[in-house]
Amino acid sequence: MASEEMEQLVRREYKQGFVTDIESDTVPPGLDESTIAFISQKKEEPQWMLEWRLEAYHQWLKMTPPSWAHLEYPPIDYQAISYFSAPKKPEDRPQSLDEVDPKLLETYEKLGIPLHERAALAGVAVDAVFDSVSVTTTFKEKLHEAGVIFCSISEAIREYPELVRQYLGTVVPQADNYFAALNSAVFTDGSFVYVPEGVKCPMELSTYFRINAANTGQFERTLIICDKQAQVSYLEGCTAPMRDENQLHAAVVELVALEDAYIKYSTVQNWYPGDEEGKGGIYNFVTKRGDCRGDRSRISWTQVETGSAITWKYPSCMLRGKESIGEFYSVAVTNGRQQADTGTKMIHIGENTRSTIVAKGIAAGRSDQAYRGLVKIGPRAKGARNYTQCDSLLIGDQCGAHTFPYQEIGNSTATVEHEATTSKIADDQLFYCRARGIDEEDAVSMIVNGFCKDVFQELPMEFAVEAEALLNVTLEGSVG
């Protein structure tokens, strides 16, 4: 925590130094306190929020980017990024689907994205003629009846400040890591969910989000709280390839599960991976963490990672409550020049906590990926159990897969199991399928989908179907 002196300093600087032009919709590239004040004012945030951001900023200034990941990329110039820009004006966007890259449209077609969503995803300036408005309204009413709060984080900061203040940063502290600190200082968008005690959220929080996904920000901040005995299934992202002019994405997601609560968080990430040489692709540095704060609470992460030039992501669970459960199911696919360093952390703190990790990595082309997982059993975690299974599948011989499992066992009554396999897509499996008349690409996707089965079956139904289609599109042209 920052000292009082620092807070004073911050406030003083705020009074003196900031020249904010509220009329303007964009700040010039660069990051200093005035940028942060500008964002905060634009969002009509309370004073405490601004201070919180500035605190994060000051911590960030003292930090250095992590260098331990198995990734290679040129240094990022944080002063070259513009930290706030209003959504593009309609006249600056494509006016119809005819103006959109036909390749993108072809992909939507292959993925079976409904027609009315394609325009929104491609960034076309559509009037809200398609269903989204009415769909959104219906959803909002249903959620309201159940007492579920689901809104943007900015709205939550204005409308439910006490809830946000109580939980924000309690799972991922401001200075948790370099990217989380940056996010804490400058986040502009993201979602907020609160499910009250005993309520099972009446729908998967998905479609609404998907329609809005085209506008997701570069520094998203998501906070989901499930009160006692509450349940929610949240779907993030979208299988459609999303283009974004911002190369750097640094999101933070915090989940809080109180007693007997269950949060299921599913992600399909398909950011633009760049061209064949990896140029122009998104750098995705995400901090996702769930806190099983209450006894018997459960948090489950399921992710399908196919996009981005670089992925740096470790959805984790802090298993504090007795008998709480953490789960991580992941499929990471890399092709072309993509790099991914992903995995999870399961931190067992409470007694009889359990965790399951199933990670499937598929590398094709000249891509490179690493699984990095930490299972930590604290001294009080009597009877804790972990099961880890991580399998890698290589397609071709120019790609790489690496596994870095870390274990820190601080209690002798714990059981930790780890299984790992690496296989090349077996020639005899391919031959077997082809000798039945199935063409090579279909055979590859069939085998790969089979390989991912354990994870896909954790996805909500509609997502699972999309994920399979996505995998096929991602691996297109990876053989032969």
Binding site: A426, D427, D428, Q429, F431, Y432, C433, R434, A435, R436, G437, I438, D439, E440, D442, M446, I447, N449, G450, F451, C452, K453, D454
Partner: protein
């Protein structure tokens, strides 16, 4: 239907087939017998298009088409189907899914549309029953955790569903007990008709008691050294391969 002429095949520079000739007509069942390592599996694998074999000389024609110019899947779609000696496991891929994908791929090649789901279900249920396979096998991953006999029955099930013009069955009898052998043989026999041919690869005679071949060939050291009718198999059983070798050397 199938015409193999002067086929020479090497694996890693080692000559395996050394001038093999074989002609199979529609309606016929041929059995290829021979000692271990003679090149029997190599022959069926080369016809099916498996990688790693180099054809250094000779031709293979199937219904007049040059098989060696065709992709693996094209051969299968043309009606050339290989039943494997050691069917591979494909985790996570349902047996029924593979069957359907294969059938639809073959139908597409014939310019037919996808098979309607109810019709497909009816077909596979019927054929599984013929192979005495519990329908639950259809929902399991391809060959995963199947016993040796179950794998073989599954191979024949695929044949019954896909209805190839030429079915090549490599050691389909290995590892089968008598009851399973009977089921497999019945399955193969049900494929027999005037428009279809079957190539059985085996080194035991006992399978031929259940599937009666029209022609028997003895393959030794990469060449067919003797051909005859079903009685040749019985004679081989009684006298061994050395007898053939002596005969051909003379």
């Amino acid at each position: 239907m199938l015409e193999v002429k002067d086929l020479h095949v090497t694996v890693e520079d080692k000559a395996i087939l050394k001038g093999l000739n074989l002609t199979i007509n529609a309606g016929e069942v041929h059995a290829i017998m021979g000692p271990n390592g003679a090149g029997k599996s190599t022959l069926s694998a080369v016809i099916a298009g498996k990688d790693g074999y180099e054809v250094t000389q000779g031709t293979i024609l199937f219904e007049g088409q040059d098989v060696l110019e065709m992709e693996i899947e094209e051969r299968a779609r043309a009606g050339l189907l290989l039943g494997f000696q050691y069917p591979v496991e494909i985790p996570g891929v349902k047996n029924i899914y593979l069957l359907k994908a294969a059938l639809n791929a073959q139908r597409a090649a014939r310019g037919e549309g996808e098979i309607p789901a109810p019709e497909f279900m009816k077909l596979v249920r019927e054929k599984s029953a013929e192979m005495k396979m519990d329908p639950s096998f259809l929902q399991r991953a391809v060959n995963e955790g199947f016993s040796g006999g179950e794998k073989k029955r599954n191979e024949i099930l695929q044949m019954l569903v896909l209805q190839p013009k030429l079915a090549m069955l490599d050691e389909i009898d290995s590892g089968l007990d008598i009851d399973a052998m009977k089921v497999v043989a019945d399955g193969v026999n049900s494929l027999r008709d005037a428009n279809r041919a079957i190539l059985l690869v085996t080194h035991y005679q006992r399978l031929l008691n259940h599937i009666e071949p029209d022609h028997v060939h003895v393959l030794v050291d990469g060449r067919i050294v003797k051909s005859g009718d079903k009685d040749l198999a019985l004679e081989l059983e009684a006298r061994g391969y050395d007898w053939v070798l002596e005969g051909s050397a003379a």
